[in-house]
Point group: D2
Chain length 403, copies 4
Amino acid sequence: MLQIEWAEMHMPVVARFIRERFEQEKPLKDVRVGATLHVTKETAALVRTLVAGGAEVRLAASNPLSTQDEVAAALARHDGVEVCAWRGMSEDEYFSCIRWVAKWEPNIVIDDGGDLHATLHKEYPDVAGRVWGGTEETTTGVIRLRAMEKEGVLRYPAIAVNDAKTKTMFDNRYGTGQSTIDGILRATNILLAGKIVVVAGYGWVGRGIANRARGMGARVIVTEVDPIKALEAVMDGFDVMPMMEAARRGDVFITATGNKKVIRREHIEVMKDGAILANAGHFNVEIWVPDLEEMAVSKRVIRPNVTEYRLPDGRRIYLLAEGRLVNLVAAEGHPSEVMDMSFANQALSAEYLVKNRGKLEPRLYMVPREVDEEVARLKLRALGIEIDRLTEEQKEYLSSWQL
Amino acid sequence: MLQIEWAEMHMPVVARFIRERFEQEKPLKDVRVGATLHVTKETAALVRTLVAGGAEVRLAASNPLSTQDEVAAALARHDGVEVCAWRGMSEDEYFSCIRWVAKWEPNIVIDDGGDLHATLHKEYPDVAGRVWGGTEETTTGVIRLRAMEKEGVLRYPAIAVNDAKTKTMFDNRYGTGQSTIDGILRATNILLAGKIVVVAGYGWVGRGIANRARGMGARVIVTEVDPIKALEAVMDGFDVMPMMEAARRGDVFITATGNKKVIRREHIEVMKDGAILANAGHFNVEIWVPDLEEMAVSKRVIRPNVTEYRLPDGRRIYLLAEGRLVNLVAAEGHPSEVMDMSFANQALSAEYLVKNRGKLEPRLYMVPREVDEEVARLKLRALGIEIDRLTEEQKEYLSSWQL
Amino acid sequence: MLQIEWAEMHMPVVARFIRERFEQEKPLKDVRVGATLHVTKETAALVRTLVAGGAEVRLAASNPLSTQDEVAAALARHDGVEVCAWRGMSEDEYFSCIRWVAKWEPNIVIDDGGDLHATLHKEYPDVAGRVWGGTEETTTGVIRLRAMEKEGVLRYPAIAVNDAKTKTMFDNRYGTGQSTIDGILRATNILLAGKIVVVAGYGWVGRGIANRARGMGARVIVTEVDPIKALEAVMDGFDVMPMMEAARRGDVFITATGNKKVIRREHIEVMKDGAILANAGHFNVEIWVPDLEEMAVSKRVIRPNVTEYRLPDGRRIYLLAEGRLVNLVAAEGHPSEVMDMSFANQALSAEYLVKNRGKLEPRLYMVPREVDEEVARLKLRALGIEIDRLTEEQKEYLSSWQL
Amino acid sequence: MLQIEWAEMHMPVVARFIRERFEQEKPLKDVRVGATLHVTKETAALVRTLVAGGAEVRLAASNPLSTQDEVAAALARHDGVEVCAWRGMSEDEYFSCIRWVAKWEPNIVIDDGGDLHATLHKEYPDVAGRVWGGTEETTTGVIRLRAMEKEGVLRYPAIAVNDAKTKTMFDNRYGTGQSTIDGILRATNILLAGKIVVVAGYGWVGRGIANRARGMGARVIVTEVDPIKALEAVMDGFDVMPMMEAARRGDVFITATGNKKVIRREHIEVMKDGAILANAGHFNVEIWVPDLEEMAVSKRVIRPNVTEYRLPDGRRIYLLAEGRLVNLVAAEGHPSEVMDMSFANQALSAEYLVKNRGKLEPRLYMVPREVDEEVARLKLRALGIEIDRLTEEQKEYLSSWQL
C-alpha cells in the first residue's frame, strides 16, 4: 500500500533499523500484543515491526474518528493483523473493539489514551492480572495510570512511553505543534499572520503549538494554571493572562491542557464573532461542547470539519473537528518522522517488558535511559548527523570533583 | 454556496466595505470586465463585487489545474457571470478560454500571469487597441508587461496591482509564505522541524516562504542571483550558497524566482535520496520537469500530488503538483484574508481605470498611493486596530527643514 | 590606534577593497571634502579612505555627545585631517564647528543629519552655490533635503546615501536594530525577556529594533501613523495600537520615527512606575524631554546614561542618554560591519559626484544602482559567500514576454 | 549606593516580598552564613535580605575577576557584612578568602561553583561536619557535589539551587543567554547579523545563547556530545555537527558545556582569520588557553577584554575575557531580574535548611517544589500577571482515572 510505503520511508528508525534487528532476533516470538492506537499509516509501520519481531497483534482504534480505513484493510489483508477499527464508529462500537482486545488475553498491551488500561482493570481484572506489562503513548493515559498506581489498583508494570525524552519532546512538541497548525489550516484555510491565537496550556504540546503559531506570524496568548509554566511562557515572549481575558481577544483558540472545560460557557459568551475553536488534547472535553450546543440557536457544517454555531446575539463560533483532536481529524496526525521516534520507544519498550517479564513490579516505569538514547542515536544516524564524543580526559573531568 | 460564504466572511474589505459602496455608486455600470484569474472562492468574492458595481464579467481560468469547479458553477448559476474554466483542462482548452474572453472585446481586462495581455496583443491587436485599461496580479505578468512597454508594443494603460504595497507585501509574502508550506504539508505530511529547506529566490515570495519554513523549525538555505537580496538573506540569518551546493544538502526545495530551469539536471544529479521538489512561482518552468522525465527510469504517483521519479542509481526524487504552483494545486491557494487585500486593489484599480478612461497613456502604472493606503485602512478597520495620527505640530515638523 | 585597527578589520569593503583602488586611482585628488559625521572609529576608516583617494578632509561632529576623543586625536595626528569635535561640546560649539567646515568652501559635502546642508544654505548661500555635490547619511537629513528640493532652494546635487539599499536595509535595520538593544543593555542591564517593549515607528529602524527586541524574548508593541506600515507590523506578529494605549502597558519605550513629541506629557502621565525611555531617532525631540522636566519633582542620574525623573505621585521614569541616540551615547553606535556598507556608499558616491561634476542638477538623487550592487558584491566577497549567476537562457527568458 | 538601589528595584521578589517577611519573622536569627558568590549589586540584595532575616554573613568572591569593588565596600560599610573580595585578586588570594570563610565555622554555606564546598571537605573536614547545610548556585558546583555524594564523602545536606526550575530555566537560559550576547557585544561591538555563531553545548545555558544569537540574526551551529540534546537542537532548527567541522565555519565560538578542552589546538588550527572565542561556562577551562598560548607567535590586548593571538601563518584569533565567563567579565553578569529568581531560591533554601536542621541527611537535595512554585508566584505578582486557577471539577478530573 503506497501510503504505508510513504510513511515507512520517513520512519527509518522503526521501519528499517529496528525492524531489521527484530527480524533476525525475533524478541517478541509468540507474544500476544494487544494494542489500542490511532489506526494510521505510521501505526502500520509499528505493527509490521512488531510482527517482524514475532508478535501476534490485535489492534483496536484509540479514537472513533481517526482510523484510516485503507490502512486497517491493508494490515488485515497483507500482514495478518486482526483489526477492529473504522472511521466514524460509534461510542459503543469503539468500546466493543477495546473489549475485543481485552478478552483476547494479551501478554503485552500498548495503549494510547488509557482506555484499554482502564477497561482491563475495570471490566477484566483477571486478564489484567495476567498481563506481562503495558505501555502508554499519551500524557492523558499516563495521568490515568499514575492515578491507578497511587490508588494501588494497577495490576501490571507499565512504561510511560509518553515521558521518554525522545517521545515527549519530539512527538508532543514538534509533532503536535506542526500537525495542529496543519489541521487548522486544512479545516479553515485562514491566514495565521496577524491573527491572535490563544493556546491553553504550556506543556510540551502547548509549547510546540505556541512556537509554530508564532512562526506562522500569529500573535500568541498563553493561558496556564501552573505558575512556573506561566512564567516560562512570559519569558519566551508570549502574553499570559486568564482565559476570561484571552477569550475577549482571541481569533483562534487551541486547547492543550489534558483537562476538561478549559473553554466553557463563560468564555464563549465574550468571544468575538468568527472565533475559531480547536482542540489538541487527547479527549474532546477541553472545549466543553455541551455548553456550545446549549447556547446556540442554530448550527451547520460550513466546511468539512468546521461547524458553525450561531449564538442568540448573531455571533458565530466555529468549532473544528467537533472538539476532537484537530490534528488527527482534520489533518493526518503526526508526521511520520515524529511517530518514528515515538513508536521506536514503543517497540523497544515492548521488547524490554518481554525480556524483563516477571522482574518488574506493578508500577509505572520511565522508559529506560538506554532505550531513550538509542532512539536518539538511530535518528541522528538517519539524518546523517554526527556529533562529538567525550575524550577520555573529558570523561574523567566530568566525573571528578577534585579539580 | 458555503465555500464562497466562508471566503467572504474573511474578506471584509472586498465583500463588505467596497461592495457596499459599489452597490450604491455603481462605478462599473455597463462596463465589460474580462478576467483571467484562478477560479477560486476568493475570486468569486471579487467578481461578485465587480458585478455589484454594475459590471458584466467574463471569467477564464488562469491555470489549467487551479479551478474549483463548484465555484465556477456557483458564479454562473447565481451571479450571472460567464465562466470558462474547469479543473484539469488541457493546454489547448486553457488558451481557448482566454481567446473567448479576448474576442468578447472587454473594456477592462484583469489578468493573473499575463497570458490574457499577451494573447490580446499577439492575436487580437485591434481589440487590445480598444481596451480602456488592464490590471495584472502577478510578478510574472508585470515582468511581461514591462517588457511589452519597453518594446513599445503595449496598447493600453496597465496597472501593476502586483506591486501595490498592500498586495506584494501581503499576498506574496504572507499569503504565499503560508500557503506554500500548507501545500507541501498537505501533499507530503512530512515534519519540517529539522529538515533542510532550500528556497530559490529571496523576493517577497521567497522571503515569506523562508520565514515560514524557519518558523516551522526547518533549517533554511537561500539561493539568489541578486547580490543585494543575497546579502539581505544572510543578514536575516539564512545560509546563502549557489544551488549547485545547496542541491547536495537540501531535503525540500522550493522555487520562487520567476525564472526558468532554476532546478535542472545538474542539480538533480547530486540530490539526496528522497528529496522533495516544489514550485511556488507562477509557471511550471522553475523546476525543469523535462530533465527529471529524461533522467528517471520509472515514475509513479505515491500520494495525491506527489510523483516519485526513480533515478538509475536508485535515488528517489519527489515532485509535488507536477511542478505547478504547489499552494494552488496541493492546497487552496492564498487564504481569503490575503486575497481580500489583493482583490481590493483589483476592484479599486478597475474603478480607477474606468474613471480615468482616456486620460492615461499606454504605459505600466503603479497602483495609486491613495488606493494602496485606502486598502490598508479598510483592513485595519476590519481587524479592529487603531493607529496614531500625526498632530498638526508633527505634520509641520515633518514638512519643514528649518528646524 | 588599536580601536581604528579593530574597526578596519571589520570594514573590509571600505578599508581594504575600496581603499586599495583609491590609492591607485586617486579619484579625489585635491578635492576638498567637508564632512559632518559622528567622529567614531568607523568614520576614521572612511576618512582615511577618502584621504587615500587624494582628498583633503575637514571633519566636524554631527552630534555633541558622540565624539570618541581618541579617534579625533588620532585622525588629526596621524592622517593630517583637520577635526573640530570633542565629546560633550555645547550647542554653540557644535554649530561653530559646522560653520568652520562651511567657511572652508568644500567641493564635496558629506552630512549626517542635515545640519551642514542647512547651515550652508541658510548662512553661506554663496559657498553652497559653489559646492559640487553633497551626500546625506540619515533619514532625517534626507527629509530635510527633500523639503529643500521641493521649495526650490537646493543649490547643489545631493545623493541620498541613506536610501541606498545596501545602506538603509543594513545600517538602519540591522545596525540600529542591534546597537539600540546594545545601548539599552549597557545603560540599564535589564532583562529583556518577558518585558513589554514599545517601538514607535515601523520604518527600517523600527523594524530592526522590533525584531531584535523580540529576538531577545521581549513582547513587542508597535505604534505607527502610516496604515500600510501598521498593517505590516500586525502581519509580522506584533501588537499595534495607539501610543496612548501602549503607554499604559510598556516597560521600555523606544522611539524611531524621525518625528517630534512622539512620547509626551499625556503618555508619560499613564506610564508604569519604572518605565524606561530611549530614543533611536536622529534628534532628541522624539521623547519630549521638556515635558518630563516640567512634570518631575526630582531628578538624578542613577547609572551612567540613566536619569531618574520622579513624578509627583511617586512613579519613577528613566530616561536614557538624555533622549539622544541611545546606540551612540550609551553604546558604540553601529557595529563596524554595518558602517562598512554605509560608508562604502559614501566613498563611492563622493567619487561619483566628482566624476559627474557639472553634469548633475541641484536635485536629490538616489545612489546609482551600480554603486549599490557593487557594495553588496564586495560585502559578499568579504563574507566568502558565492551566489548563483543567471545562465544566458535565463537572462533571455527574463527579458522576453513572448514565452 | 545607587547601583544596589537600581538592582533592588529590579529584584522585587528578594528585595521586597521576601525581605519584608524576613524582617518580621527573623528566620535566620544568629545564624552564621558563609557565602562564596560573585560580589555584585545583585548579591548585595541577597546578602541584605539574609541580614534582614537575622543572619551574620561572611562573603568571599567566587571568581577572581568578577568583584564590583564599590559593592564590596558598600556591604562592609553600610550593612555590617564581612567581605573578602576585590577585582583582580590572585589565585592565592582567591583561595585565602575562601579559607577565611571556612575557618569562621559557618552554619549555612552558600556556594557558587563548588570551591567553598570542596575546600571545606578537603581542608576543613571537621568544620564541614558541623555545617547545618549548604546550597549551590551553578551546574558545575552541583556536578561536583553529586560526585562527592556518590563517593560518600559529602558531610552535610546540600540543596541544588541550580536545579530549581525557577533558577535553571530562567538564570541559565534567559539570564546567561542575554548576558553572554551582551558581554560579547560590549567586548567586540561586532554585528551578529549574518555571522556564524558556534555554541558548544545545548544544555539550558547553550539553549539560551543559541536562541538569543539567532534572535540577533546570527546563523547558529550547535555542538553536543549527548544524542538527545543534539537531536533537540536539530529539531529547533539549528545546524549540528562535530566541533572539528564547526571550527572551520564559525565566526564566533561560545562554550557552555561545563567540560574542559572543548575548544583546543586541533580546532584552533582550522579556524578562520578573525575568529572570536568566548566562554560562558563556569571555569576557564572550556577554551583551552594553554594551547592558544603555545600556538601564538604574538599576543596583545586590542580592546578591553579582547586579546589577539597571532598564529604563525598570520591568522588572528581573538580570545574574550581571557577565557573566563564573558558575561561576568565583559558585561555585568546576569540582569538583576534573573538573579532575583535565583537568589529568591537561595534565601528560601537557606531558611529551609535552618528550619529542617538535623532532619536532613548528608545528601544532595532538590529545591522543594513549594519553594520553587512560591518563587514563580511572587515573580508573576511582580510582573502584574494573573493566571487561571483550576476549578474544583477540574481538580477532580485530573486526579481521577475513572472518567
